[in-house]
Symmetry: C2
Subunit: 200 residues, 2 copies
Amino acid sequence: MEATRRRRMEPDSRRGEILTVAVRLFGQRPYSEVSTTDVARAAGVARGLVNHYFGTKKDLYLEVVRVMLTVPAVALEQVRRDDPLERRVDTIVSWFLDVVSRHSTSWLAAVNAGGIAGDAEVDGVIAEAIDVAAVGVLGAVGLGESPSEALRGMARSYVGLAVFTGREWLQRGVLSREQVHALLKTSLLAMVEEVFPQAV
Amino acid sequence: MEATRRRRMEPDSRRGEILTVAVRLFGQRPYSEVSTTDVARAAGVARGLVNHYFGTKKDLYLEVVRVMLTVPAVALEQVRRDDPLERRVDTIVSWFLDVVSRHSTSWLAAVNAGGIAGDAEVDGVIAEAIDVAAVGVLGAVGLGESPSEALRGMARSYVGLAVFTGREWLQRGVLSREQVHALLKTSLLAMVEEVFPQAV
DNA sequence: ATCGCTATTGGCGATGTGTCAATAAGTGGC
DNA sequence: GCCACTTATTGACACATCGCCAATAGCGAT
């Protein structure tokens, strides 16, 4: 059994190939239990090549997390701006639950990644994704124009609730989708009507 | 300069000494950047001894996280059961913010610990702490007697919001304590009055 | 003093990671 | 078709960390 011979590829293609494999592996087991050797072997490549394209293992992981978080971050611009507030909130929550449940595995992996025990860079990537989602929510709710720092902070808190609740929903399975929906909807409504006004 | 000679101690004392040092170190830098050698050296002990007392490095880390989470988990039984709901909620939130801000460093470290990128055991420890806090909240709110699984799940979601918001507050510093207080208070009120009833 | 228990040490083997010179797969020139 | 020439790819070296275990040496008991 002759292992497939060395094949030369375009750098971009090879890079993408390795990255795809890495996303799969890091989606299955935690960071510390995936070695660069594993990634290399699964990609049919020498280990040195992984370092060549991605630098350090953590750098590779950063790209992996970015890829995983890219999907859920797609725009929620489709919220009709002239709908009443409750309807808009309802749409936002529904859309969030749809996306999360569809890409559940990779989304869970990315969220659970929650940092290599507080690693600054990984946390930065996740924090940024949360911030993006936060301004998205603000925009969809109608407070999008130049939100204050405090308002963004509050919106990030809500996104944190959504993320955590999504995990609770998908991983534990003790909550029904309707219950999760109600929880996120009334929470967001309460915040928009009673809390956000305090932050300009 | 003669390094202090080998000193023989009671196993419990030595164990506690090492654990204390480990809590400090893991509170300063992330998991992967603290080697057992570091812990051993800081404790003035051979590296082998760390393994002898705690087994694997992750086992040591598990104990560290448990210690860090122990403080915030102290009882919030002091909520007066005959107060009106809003007053009780207010007390709970105040107490939470007090505890969190007082032990901010170790609390942040424990929360940020959020898992070695999804490590099952570490996540388990944190999840358990959150569950304990959740039933505490339910008890303080007046729904403590035999809460259903779904109700506990919802309460866990709220604790997740509190944890995340606490992080947002302490780490970013863009929200004032009053704002955080308002956010957590109205959220909990809304959940108790409108969402929790759906789960028995 | 010395004996015995065991807390403590130090080193071995295995595994993982980053780096770099050596190699060979393609591509274009002739 | 053959031969450079570029560079994608490899393999190995050096180093760090971890788990383990036999050997060592505190310290109380006799």
